[in-house]
């Protein structure tokens, strides 16, 4: 009985110890969302809490030294650099796709940068605010080069591997029904299993988001023997997300994201941003906070974009180093090119 009492005491102590540790770390977050101004909370905390996935090649992963990297992660860093002047002042919280929205609306994270597709229902009924898209993804189809398949119509009577329970599966069936192509869907619970089946020749095609297909293609035994078809079956605009009813904070995230795109359009990079000191181009001077009050109007330091670009780079640099030419994936810019180069990346004017 004595031992039982001891165990019960241990139990109580453990809970108290963990609980105690909790209140100190989470205490300030709690006060945040009730107070309203998330921007002030982030400033007073001195750290941005950013929700990421932590396991998506090119978007968020952990490198050998334990630091988070990727396109989603760089967006977090940009926001931190804008608000706090330090791109490293970020705490990354790994979120599963099911809990990401509750974590955001519950105030556990300040901003969600986790491959989230912008849809009307999420924007309205879930109560989210979608900042500008940082990656235009779309559902694609991976086939073997020697299979002779060049379009979706060629899949009549052939098998396609797909992950079950995703919008990917629904899009595929919708698209094929429209084309009246009678194909055989082979569904898998798990992405790893689906790709393994595809590489073993269980199906002729493998469908998923293009960014995923490209990342996975480099893991197949002979990457050069596989090719992405020139079809896009769905629109998947991915970008950072905040909650409703906090316009000041949403503006910060929104204009920081636009700023990344605008910087690329201006041709300002991490390397050359210092050379624009005292520029005679009034647009750039305003953009970098040398003139006007664009930053201070938003509650940020006036040179917030100069900080972001110096520490993180512009959108083009972020894209190329994480998923583009400078990465393993060598993904074309495509829809993610600037509007001036035939893409969809467009920032409203900074004035």
């Amino acid at each position: 009985m004595r031992k039982l009492g001891l165990l019960a005491a241990a139990l109580g102590l453990t809970l108290a110890a963990c609980g105690g540790a909790t209140t100190t770390t989470d205490g300030d977050e709690g006060a945040t969302s009730s107070g309203g101004g998330r921007l002030d909370v982030v400033k007073s905390r001195g750290q941005l809490i950013c929700g990421v996935d932590g396991g998506i090649p090119g978007f968020s992963f952990v490198d050998e030294s334990g630091t988070y990297m990727g396109l989603d992660v760089d967006v977090c860093k940009a926001v931190a650099a804008a608000v706090l002047g330090d791109a490293e002042a970020v705490e990354y919280r790994r979120l599963d796709s099911t809990e990401r929205f509750t974590a955001l609306s519950g105030g556990e994270v300040d901003v969600l940068s986790r491959n989230t597709t912008w849809t009307i229902s999420r924007d309205t009924s879930v109560g989210l605010e979608f900042a500008p898209t940082t990656f235009f993804d779309g559902q694609g189809m991976l086939v073997k080069t020697d299979s002779g398949i060049t379009s979706l119509e060629d899949f009549a009577g052939k098998a396609i591997c797909v992950e079950t329970g995703t919008t990917t599966e629904l899009n595929l069936t919708d698209q094929m029904r429209q084309l009246t192509v009678d194909f055989e869907p082979v569904v898998f619970q798990d992405a790893d299993a689906a790709y393994a089946a595809y590489s073993e020749g269980r199906c002729e095609g493998m469908t998923s988001d293009k960014s995923q297909l490209v990342a996975r293609r480099s893991t197949l035994p002979n990457p050069d023997e596989h090719v992405l078809l020139e079809v896009t079956m769905s629109k998947e605009p991915l970008g950072p997300v905040t909650t409703n009813n906090d316009s000041a904070w949403f503006d910060v995230v929104k204009w920081t994201t636009y700023g990344l795109i605008q910087a690329e359009e201006f041709g300002i990079t991490a390397d050359n941003v210092a050379t624009f000191e005292g520029t005679d181009n009034p647009d750039i001077a305003r953009f970098l906070g040398q003139e006007g009050t664009l930053g201070t109007d938003m509650g940020l330091p006036n040179d917030f974009m100069a900080q972001v670009i110096a520490q993180v780079g512009n959108y083009g640099e972020i894209y190329e180093r994480n998923v583009g030419a400078d990465s393993e994936f060598a993904l074309e810019r495509g829809q993610n090119a600037l509007w001036t180069e035939g893409g969809l990346m467009y920032s409203p004017p900074f004035r």
Binding site: M1, L4, L6, L7, A8, A10, L11, T14, L15, A17, C18, G19, A21, T22, T23, T24, T25, D26, G27, E29, G30, A31, S33, S34, G54, G55, I56, P57, G58, S60, F61, V62, D63, E64, S65, G66, T67, Y68, M69, G70, E91, Y92, R93, R94, L95, D96, T98, E99, T102, A103, G106, E108, D192, A215, S218, T219, L220, S327, E328, F329
Partner: protein
């Protein structure tokens, strides 16, 4: 063989000694055509499988992902400047484990018997030779030495002061809080947010906490279910049946997603704490049934004998019934602990960077894309090591507590 009479045993013995390997194989593996075919088929199937695995591991496999990320596997995104704290924790655990071993083995004639020495040699050889862990794990050799030294010291001390075992239990109990302090910081150490706990440290921490919490809870539930008081019985039965009818994943999601909705914003418990509670509540229901099976196996006469000696209910329970019941239930209880340890992998789907979760992050690193087999095999070896250690310990405890002769 066990049922052999002394006569047949003594007559079989000289036979066994004179049997050479060829004769042994002929007797046991090739006694008739059917056994011969079976032997050949099994040996070729397993042999070729093993050969392929070994040749894959030595030639095709690219083990770089593991040594380069060894720190991540062990501690997740724990700041590397604070690694000495983790080493200190490991040293404490190794020292205590060695001492416990010495104290438990105080009556054995030699602590380092040949099989133990072989075991230690295998562990050292594994640390030195296993390619994936080579650079960082050489520091593990002093830890093995520490276990051995502590064991020898513990044995000497225990022979002089037999009461030292009690102190050791207390030391293990306190070491949990020292671990919490070393990992989490505070009280003079730099704080590490639970967000940065990860890898094997997180897996072990959640498993140990879960086990420590679920055992007393399961015990109480089992007693409650057999209680004579109807409300206690109904509540315990209701809880057990409710939790056993819900998958663990559902409980974990409820912990991560629903608990924050019920509580006011300021008092949101830590994610790791939520996960530990969900794990413990889940395992407690299963453990309760294991303990109940043990309780039912204790003959009624034991209760009656205790009552006739004038023992009251708590004494009967504490001194007569529970020791016997728990002894019977040890294999099932340890089985439950092992499954709890493995269930911690589910934490990766609620966003905690335990072993499997950090493995996923490492696999998303473009440098290590497609290294699934290597990473998952490495994780499997780690899990096997700890689960096997647990079942070995349970077998030792069973032997020690065995009173049937």
């Amino acid at each position: 063989m066990t049922s052999a009479t002394p006569d047949s045993f003594s007559s079989a013995r000289p036979d066994a000694i004179s049997l050479g390997p060829v004769a042994w194989a002929k007797k046991n593996l090739f006694s008739d055509w059917f056994n011969s075919v079976l032997t050949v088929v099994i040996v070729t199937t397993f042999g070729s499988g093993l050969f392929r695995l070994v040749s894959w591991a030595l030639t095709t496999a690219q083990w770089g992902a593991i040594p380069n990320n060894f720190g991540l596997f062990m501690t997740g995104t724990f700041p590397s400047a604070l690694y000495p704290r983790i080493w200190a924790l490991l040293a404490i655990v190794c020292g205590l484990a060695g001492l416990s071993w010495g104290v438990l083995g105080r009556n054995v004639s030699t602590l380092f018997s040949r099989s133990v020495l072989i075991g230690l040699a295998v562990v050292c050889a594994f640390i030195i030779l296993f390619p994936p862990t080579r650079p960082s794990s050489l520091k593990l050799l002093p830890m093995v030495a520490l276990v051995a030294v502590a064991a020898a010291a513990g044995r000497q001390v225990a022979r002089k002061f037999p009461g030292v075992g009690q102190l050791l239990s207390l030391a293990w109990f306190l070491s949990y809080f020292v671990a919490l302090w070393l990992i989490g910081g505070g009280l003079g150490l730099t704080r590490v947010s639970t967000n940065d706990w990860g890898g094997l440290v997180l897996t072990l921490f959640t498993a140990v906490s879960g086990i420590a919490l679920c055992f007393p809870l399961g015990l109480l539930l089992a007693l409650g279910r057999r209680s004579a008081l109807p409300i206690v019985r109904w509540l315990s039965t209701g809880y057990i049946e409710l939790v056993r009818g819900v998958p663990l994943v559902a409980l974990l999601f409820m912990g991560q997603v629903m608990i924050p909705l019920f509580l006011p914003l300021g008092s949101r418990p830590d994610r790791i704490l939520r996960a530990i509670i969900a794990l413990a509540l889940f395992s407690a229901a299963y453990l309760a049934e294991n303990v109940r099976a043990g309780l039912q196996a204790v003959p009624r006469g034991q209760n009656e004998a205790a009552a006739s000696l004038g023992l009251n209910t708590p004494m009967t329970l504490g001194f007569i019934v529970l020791p016997q019941a728990l002894k019977i239930a040890i294999p099932a209880i340890v089985g439950q602990f092992i499954s709890l340890f493995q269930d911690t992998t589910l934490l990766s789907i609620v966003g905690l960077a335990e072993l499997l979760g950090i493995g996923k992050s490492i696999l998303a690193n473009p440098t290590y894309l497609g290294r699934y087999a290597e990473v998952y095999l490495f994780l499997a070896v780690i899990f096997w090591f700890f689960c096997y250690a647990m079942s070995l310990a349970s077998r030792k405890i069973e032997e020690k507590l065995n009173t049937d002769h």
